[in-house]
Structures are given as C-alpha cells and as structure tokens.
Amino acid sequence: MRLSGRGVRCVRGGREVFSSLDFEAASGEAVAVTGPNGAGKTSLLRLIAGLLAPAGGSIDLEGGEAELTLPEQAHYLGHRDALKPALSVLENLSFWRDFLGSSGDAGQNLARVGLDHAMHLPAAFLSAGQRRRLSIARLLSVRRPVWLLDEPTSALDAAGQAMFAGVMREHLAAGGLIVAATHAPLGIEARELRMELRIGGAA
Amino acid sequence: MSLGPYASFIATSYALVTAVVLILIGWIALDYRNQKARLRELEASGIARRSGRGATDF
C-alpha cells in the first residue's frame, strides 16, 4: 500500500498555504510532518482526509481496497477529540465503533489505553490527556490502514506517549501507515516531511 | 355522601392529586435507592471518601 501526493496545492481563505508539495508513504512507514506554525501541517492532514479540497495536484492511495475512497480507509485524529461529555466513556467509544463499522471489543481497547476503570463515567470527567487516550482507543477499535494524526502526543504524559508509541509500532507492523503532524518527537522511527512557512504568498 | 351532578370532577381531582403525589414519592424513593447503589458501587471499587473535606466538600 502506498500513499502519495503529487504537486499538491492548498489555498485557504485566499492565501496559498503551500504548493507543489510531493510526499510519499508506504505500508509500515510513518511520516512526521514538521514545520513552524502556519506552514500547513494541519491543512495537509485535512487534505488527505478529504475534509479539504486540494486547489491542485492529486493525492492517491494505491493498493488499498478498490471500492473505498482514501478518507474511508483513514482515521483522523484532530485537535478536537470528537467526544460527547454527556455520554459515558464506553458509550462514546461504542458509538464510534458502531458508526465507523467494526465489531471490536471496546473494553479491551479501553484497558489498552488505561481507561478501563473509567468505563462508566461520563466523558465530562476526563482530563485532556484522558480524552486523548479515549481517542486512541477509537483508532484501535476500528481498523483503518491509514492513520492521520494531528499533534497526537500533545496532551499525553510520558507513560501515555510510551503507550501510544507502542500502539503506533503495532499498527505499522501490521502493514498500516501513519502521517503525523508534530512538533515533538513521535517516539517511533519516522521519515520527516519538513514544511516551510511561506510569507505573503497570494493565491 | 352524595357528590351531586359533578361527582366525576371531584373524583378526578382527588385521583389526580393522589396520583401525582404518589409519583413524586415513588420518584424520590427510587432516586434514593439509585444514588445509594451507586455510592456502594463506587466504594466497593476502592474509591473511599477522604475524611473531612473531599466528597462531602461542595
């Protein structure tokens, strides 16, 4: 499986964020997207996730399931955790498991991220790091080959980062691929894709 | 005791008041039992109140 972008151009709010960007990631490989704020790291992830339309170029996934689009084979872990404070931890996870179409055991995945004791508590009681852990449990519950991670480790403590590095290694070993926007080291082997800040580029 | 031509209205009023008061009592009793059960559950899972401040502190 190979994810590749050719000559990708991104325009947001009339400003060209980046253009003629090429990137590539193969099965079992992680790409760390780095660069200063405003260089377009999040925009790139959202382009791959299909949440933004590219102003030019193309992004393709070769070797995936033919009848599914790239976003349908991808997980997107954004800044916001997609959790409902009124629902319990388990209800939140079960919803995404059912909606995204999977039959994994929610309890086991919660144990993996260290939230099994909080299973029946409202998600409102979780701290930022715990919310992030719950999002990671979502990645585990539903199998998707492509993981798009936006600052995945930002709220995690040292133990959480170690846990997440293990999760990512397993995913890569199983033939998945990861594109992660990050400031901090990811904790795993990753190819760096450095993005530069463009100043005053008008579209 | 005859209730006259409007007996049904009188009976309905009394029945309604009884019903609503019983619902109130039932709701409060049920709520009490639920909260007690949840407290026991939490204490069984090893979360104990600290003395003085803590759980009673609100």
Binding site: P85, A86, V113, G114, L115, H117, A118, L121, P122, A124, F125, L126, S127, G129, Q130, R133, D157, A159, G160, A162, M163 | M1, S2, L3, G4, P5, Y6, A7, F9, I10, T12, S13, Y14, L16, V17, V20, V21, I23, L24, I25, I28, A29, D31, Y32, Q35, K36, R38, L39, L42, E43, S45, G46, I47, R49, G54, A55, T56, D57, F58
Partner: protein, 263 residues
C-alpha cells in the same frame, strides 16, 4: 442544632434520617384527618358538592407560592450567606413545587369546569398560577442545562429572586389584563368570611400538604446530597485512573504508593 451545624452535609443526613419517619407519620395522620373532615363538610349552597375540590385546590395553590418562597430564601442563602446546603435545598424544591403548581392548575380547572362550561378559562388567578408554573419549568430547565450543580446554583438563585420580585408584578398585570375583558373569579370561597365548616378542614389540609412538602423536600435534599457525593467520587475515580495508567498495566496499589512517594 443551629443552621451552622446543618452546614455539614453528613450531619444533615443524620438529622434527616432521624426526623423523616416522624414527619412521614405526622403527614399521614394529618392528611387522613383532613380528608375525613373534608368528606364530612356540607355542600355549598351555590357550588354544591364541587366545593370539595377546594380542599385540595387551595392547599396546592398555597404550596405553589410557598415553595417559591422557600426557594427564594434558599437563593438568598446561596448568594448572601453562602450556606453550603442552600443550593441543594433550592434545587430539590423546584420539581416538587412544579408538581404542586401543576396540581393547583388541574384542580382549579376541574373546579371551574361546572361553572365555566370549559376546562380552561383565562381567569386571572389561574392564569397567574399558569405563569408561575412556566417559571418553575424554566428553573428546572436551567438546573438541567448545566452539568455542574455548583455552577448552575448562582444562576438559578438569581433567577429565583428575580422571579420572587416579579410574581406580584405578574399577578397585578394579569389581574388588570383580565378585568379589561371579563368579571369575577370562581375562587372566592377562601375569603375571611368563610364558614367554619369549610375553614377547619381547609386549614387541616393546608397544614398536611405543607408537611407533605417538607417531608418530600427533606428526602429530595438527601438525594441531591448523595448525587453530589457520587459525582465527586466519580471525578476522583476518573483522576485515580489517570494515576494507575501512569505505570501502564501496573496494579493500583503499587501506583498509589508511587504517587505518594513522588509527591
């Protein structure tokens, strides 16, 4: 036993456990006596037997005001004296008050039905009670809208006090609005000139219903205290989990000692 002693919820719970059985017994006896005396009361020369509805309508109408009064005092407790049980009392009273107000409305409309020929007439008194009912529902909605009760408490307290100031104004406006269009109200039987045959059962019923409210209110306050305890324990549990996961799959006891060691 002063109000300050009651500030400790644990002590309040102990007191409630001791007082509640007596309150329940007193309420039951008074209700039975009141119902018995109401059943014996003679028919009114004008209203016939429907006057019997008065014995439950008036206590409910009285409670609809009284409960708002209790909530207003509790709100002062929240805002001025910062008594820790004040917002518990205010929150627990709202649904009970709404239920009594609802009963006042329904019994009022059933009482008026033979006179008016319809279930609802925009009679001044009933209409003010209807507005009061809406205010109760709004207050309950406010309590429900915010997940953290201590954050909702101040907003609810302000709303309750504003409501208390507004109730007489609303009452006056509705009266004025109503007299523009039509005349008298049915609800006159509770004037000071009432016959003793009605007055005594009515008084007994009013006291019985007030006691009923006090009983229910204490029980509901106890529930609310327990609910908050559950909430804070759950929050402790949530953060405890964060500690335990620090060592991955390590046991919680080991983690706890590590925590205290680290601290």
């Amino acid at each position: 036993m002063t109000l300050i002693d009651l500030a400790n919820p644990t002590r309040f719970l102990a007191l409630t456990a001791r007082v509640l059985p007596w309150l329940i017994a007193a309420t039951a006896i008074l209700l039975a006596a009141g119902l018995y005396r109401s059943a014996l009361a003679p028919d009114d020369y004008q209203q016939g037997a429907t006057v019997k509805i008065m014995f439950i309508h008036v206590p409910n109408a009285w409670l609809s005001m009284f409960v708002w009064g209790v909530m207003s005092i509790a709100s002062l407790g929240t805002l001025v004296w910062r008594h820790p049980l004040a917002d518990v009392a205010a929150k627990a009273a709202a649904p009970i008050g709404a239920a009594f107000t609802f009963l006042a409305l329904v019994t009022g409309s059933l009482w008026g039905r033979p006179m008016w020929g319809t279930y609802w007439e925009w009679d001044a008194r009933l209409t003010s009670v209807l507005v009061l009912f809406l205010m109760y529902l709004g207050l309950i909605a406010l309590w429900r809208a915010v997940e953290d009760p201590s954050r909702a408490a101040r907003a609810a307290a302000v709303l309750t006090l504003v409501g208390a100031i507004n109730i007489p104004i609303i009452k006056f406006s509705v009266d004025w609005w109503n007299t523009l269009h039509q005349g008298a109200s049915v609800f006159r039987a509770d004037g000071p000139t009432m016959d003793r045959a009605y007055l005594i059962p009515l008084l007994i019923m009013a006291v019985a219903f007030t006691l009923l409210f006090v009983t229910l209110h204490l029980a509901a306050m106890r529930n609310e205290i327990l609910r908050r305890r559950v909430r804070s324990l759950q929050m402790m549990q949530a953060s405890r989990v964060a500690f335990s996961s620090e060592t991955g799959a390590g046991s919680r006891e080991a983690t706890a000692s590590k925590q205290t060691g680290a601290a």
